[in-house]
C-alpha cells in the first residue's frame, strides 16, 4: 500500500536543455559561432553531465531526486538526451538545483554503482566521458574547430575536456559546479497529476570562453585535466539560464 501511495504522490516533470552559443541554437559541424575574443568556431561534439537534481517549491520544500536515478548525460548529437524526465511530488516549484558534472562520492564508487550513463563502457569513441588514468568522469566536453578567414587553411582543432572532482588524499582541483536556477521570473513549474510541465533552460556554451577569464582557442586549444580547466569551469558555471516553463 505504502509504495502505491508513494508512486501516486509523484507526478511527471521535464527539464529541457537547449544548447546555444551566443544566443544561437547549436548545429553540430556546420553552425558558425563567435566567442568573446572574436574567434569564429564550429562545434563537432558537445556533451555534459547533469546530476543530483533538486527541486525547491515556492514554500521552500526541497525534493531531492533519488541519487541513483539522478545522473544524465546531455548530448548535443542526441536530442532525446536533452530532455530529462523526472517524477516529483505535486507542487509549485520555484527553483531547481543540480550539479554540472558528477559529485565526488560517485566518482569513487565501485563499478556496480556506475550503471547507465556512468558505465565507463557506455561511451563510444570520441564520446568517452571517463578518464581511466586519473580515475574520474569528464564533466563537460566540447570539441570543434576554429574557422579561419581563408578557407584553404585548416582551422585549429580545439578540445575541452573538463573534469576533476577534488582528489582522494589531499584537496586537489575540484571542477564540480552547482547550478541554481530561479524559476520565479519566467514561470513556476506547476506539477500535478494529469499534466507534464517542462522547465526549459538554455545552456550558452560560448560562456566558457569568457567571464572570470578570457579563453581563446589560439592560446588554449586543448584543455584536459590541467590547471586551465578551472578557468573554463568557472566561466561555464554561468552558462545556464531559465528560459521559460511550459505548464
Amino acid at each position: 500500500m505504502q509504495s502505491t501511495d508513494a508512486v501516486k504522490s509523484l507526478a511527471p516533470i521535464n527539464i529541457q536543455f537547449q544548447n546555444m552559443a551566443n544566443e544561437l541554437p547549436i548545429t553540430l559541424n556546420t553552425g558558425k559561432y563567435t566567442n568573446a575574443s572574436g574567434e569564429s568556431f564550429s562545434i563537432s561534439l558537445l556533451q555534459y553531465f547533469v546530476s543530483n537534481i533538486e527541486l525547491i517549491s515556492a514554500d521552500g520544500k526541497v525534493y531531492t531526486v533519488p541519487q541513483d536515478s539522478s545522473y544524465f548525460l546531455i548530448k548535443q548529437a542526441n536530442p532525446q538526451t536533452q530532455t530529462i524526465q523526472l517524477n516529483v511530488p505535486e507542487g509549485r516549484y520555484a527553483k531547481i538545483k543540480f550539479v554540472l558534472g558528477i559529485d565526488s562520492v560517485r566518482n569513487t564508487k565501485p563499478l556496480s554503482k556506475r550503471t547507465g550513463v556512468l558505465d565507463p563502457s557506455s561511451y563510444e569513441g570520441a564520446e568517452n566521458m571517463y578518464w581511466s588514468w586519473n580515475s574520474g568522469y569528464i564533466f563537460f566536453k566540447m570539441e570543434g574547430n576554429k574557422i579561419t578567414e581563408n578557407p584553404s587553411v585548416a582551422g585549429k582543432k580545439f578540445r575541452y575536456h573538463i573534469g576533476l572532482f577534488g582528489g582522494m588524499d589531499k584537496p586537489t582541483l575540484n571542477n564540480i559546479k552547482i547550478i541554481e536556477l530561479d524559476l520565479t521570473k519566467k514561470g513556476l513549474a506547476k506539477v500535478r497529476w494529469g499534466s507534464q510541465p517542462t522547465i526549459v533552460c538554455t545552456a550558452d556554451v560560448a560562456k566558457m570562453f569568457t567571464g572570470n577569464s578570457t579563453i581563446t582557442i589560439d592560446q588554449f586549444g586543448t584543455v584536459m585535466g590541467g590547471p586551465t580547466s578551472a578557468l573554463i569551469a568557472n566561466n561555464y558555471h554561468q552558462m545556464f539560464k531559465h528560459k521559460t516553463t511550459i505548464n
Binding site: 563499478l111 556506475r114 558505465d119 565507463p120 563510444e124 581511466s132 588514468w133 586519473n134 586537489t172
Partner: protein
C-alpha cells in the same frame, strides 16, 4: 548393471570429494593473508575470490581479446617469471610496437594497495585494467568493443555465468574477474618471509648484515612486510619534463616528479628499474642512492640535510650485503606457481 551403477556412484563420490578438496585448497591457496602481512585494503566483501572467478580472470589476463589488434594481452607485459613485469624492457609495449612512457610494474600483493600506477591515478583495483586496455600505447581497445567481443564469444558468456551468475558480461563483472586473478597473485614465500615467520630458514651472515643496512637506510619508504609504504616520493632520478609523476594527477607543485614507491619484493627479477626503466641492474640502483642521486625538485626530505642533498652513505661491504639481502626477497614459489600461469 547394478555393479556398474555402484562403480559409477563411487566414482562420482570420489570426484565430488576431490573437487571439494580442490575447492578448499584453492580457497586457501588463492587468497590467504600471510601470517606476517597486515589486513588487505581491497574490498573483498564486494568481490570474494572463487575458483570460477579466479580462473576466468586468469583466462582474460592471458587473452589478447582485450586488445584492439587481438595480439597484446595483459600477460604480454606482465610475465610471471619476471614477477609479472616485462623483463628487459624499460618501457611498456603496446599494439603496433608503440611504447608507453613508464616501466611495467610487477603484479603482486595488489590487495594491499589502493593507489595504482606510478602516479597513483587509479584508486580501485577494479578500475585499474581500464587504463592499459584503453591506452593507445598499450592495448588500444575501447571498453564497449571489449564487451562486444566477449559477449559474442563462444566460451566467455558461459564462464561469466558460472563465475557470477550473470547472462550478460558487463564492465563490473569483467573487472571483478580480472581483480580476482590479480588479487590471487600473492607473493609471500621468499626466503625473507620464511625467516620472519620462523619456518626454519635462516639468513646467512651477509644477508643478516644486509637486512640491517636495509633497516637503517631503506625501510622507511620500503616498509616491511610489503616493502613499500604505498606513498609517493622523489628519489633524485634525473627529471624528465615529459613525465611529472604524481603532479599529473593532483596538479600540486609538491607532487611534481613524485612517483609511487615500488615494493622491493622480487626486485632481483624485475630489471630494469625505476618508473622510466632507466637503470639496468640492482647494483646500479644501489649506486644511484650512494653516488648518483640529483638535487631534484621535491627531492624527498630523507635525502636532505640542512637543505643539502645527502646521498646514502653505504660502504662497499654494506652495498654488497644489501644486495645479498635483496636476493632473499625473491619468491620462487610465486614465479613458478602453475595456478598463475597461462593454461
Amino acid at each position: 548393471m547394478r555393479n556398474q551403477l555402484k562403480v559409477i556412484g563411487i566414482l562420482v563420490f570420489i570426484v565430488t570429494l576431490l573437487t571439494a578438496a580442490t575447492d578448499k585448497l584453492l580457497d586457501n591457496y588463492l587468497f590467504k593473508v600471510p601470517a606476517n602481512f597486515p589486513k588487505p585494503s581491497y574490498a573483498f566483501a564486494n568481490n570474494p575470490i572463487t575458483k570460477e572467478g579466479f580462473e576466468l580472470g586468469r583466462k582474460l589476463f592471458y587473452d589478447p581479446i582485450l586488445s584492439s589488434d587481438n595480439i597484446i594481452s595483459c600477460g604480454f607485459c606482465h610475465n610471471q617469471p619476471a614477477a609479472f613485469t616485462h623483463h628487459g624492457h624499460d618501457l611498456s609495449h603496446g599494439i603496433e610496437d608503440r611504447l608507453g612512457k613508464r616501466n611495467a610494474p610487477p603484479i603482486q600483493n595488489l590487495a594491499w594497495t589502493n593507489r595504482f600506477m606510478w602516479d597513483g591515478g587509479v584508486f580501485d583495483l577494479d578500475l585499474q585494467p581500464i587504463v592499459p586496455i584503453t591506452s593507445p600505447d598499450e592495448m588500444g581497445e575501447t571498453l564497449p568493443q571489449v564487451l562486444k567481443k566477449l559477449n559474442a564469444s563462444k566460451d566467455y558468456p558461459i564462464l561469466f555465468k558460472n563465475a557470477f551468475g550473470v547472462s550478460t558480461i558487463t564492465t563490473d563483472y569483467l573487472m571483478k574477474a580480472l581483480s580476482q586473478f590479480m588479487n590471487g597473485l600473492v607473493s609471500a614465500n621468499s626466503k625473507y618471509d620464511q625467516v620472519i615467520r620462523q619456518e626454519g630458514a635462516e639468513f646467512t651472515e651477509e644477508e643478516a648484515a644486509g637486512y640491517k643496512v636495509f633497516k637503517s637506510y631503506c625501510a622507511s619508504c620500503h616498509q616491511e612486510p610489503l616493502f613499500t609504504n604505498n606513498q609517493f616520493a622523489n628519489n633524485g632520478m634525473p627529471m624528465n619534463q615529459n613525465d611529472l609523476g604524481r603532479y599529473e594527477i593532483t596538479l600540486l607543485q609538491e607532487d611534481k616528479y613524485l612517483f609511487k614507491i615500488p615494493s622491493l619484493r622480487n626486485i632481483m627479477l624485475t630489471a630494469p628499474y625505476m618508473h622510466d626503466g632507466s637503470i639496468n641492474s640492482i647494483d646500479d640502483v644501489i649506486q644511484h642512492y650512494r653516488l648518483n642521486m640529483q638535487t631534484t625538485t621535491n627531492l624527498d626530505n630523507r635525502f636532505l640535510k640542512n637543505g643539502q642533498i645527502e646521498r646514502v652513505p653505504l660502504s662497499d661491504i654494506e652495498a654488497k650485503n644489501l644486495k645479498h639481502f635483496l636476493q632473499t626477497l625473491t619468491d620462487t614459489i610465486f614465479i613458478h606457481n602453475p595456478m598463475f600461469s597461462e593454461q
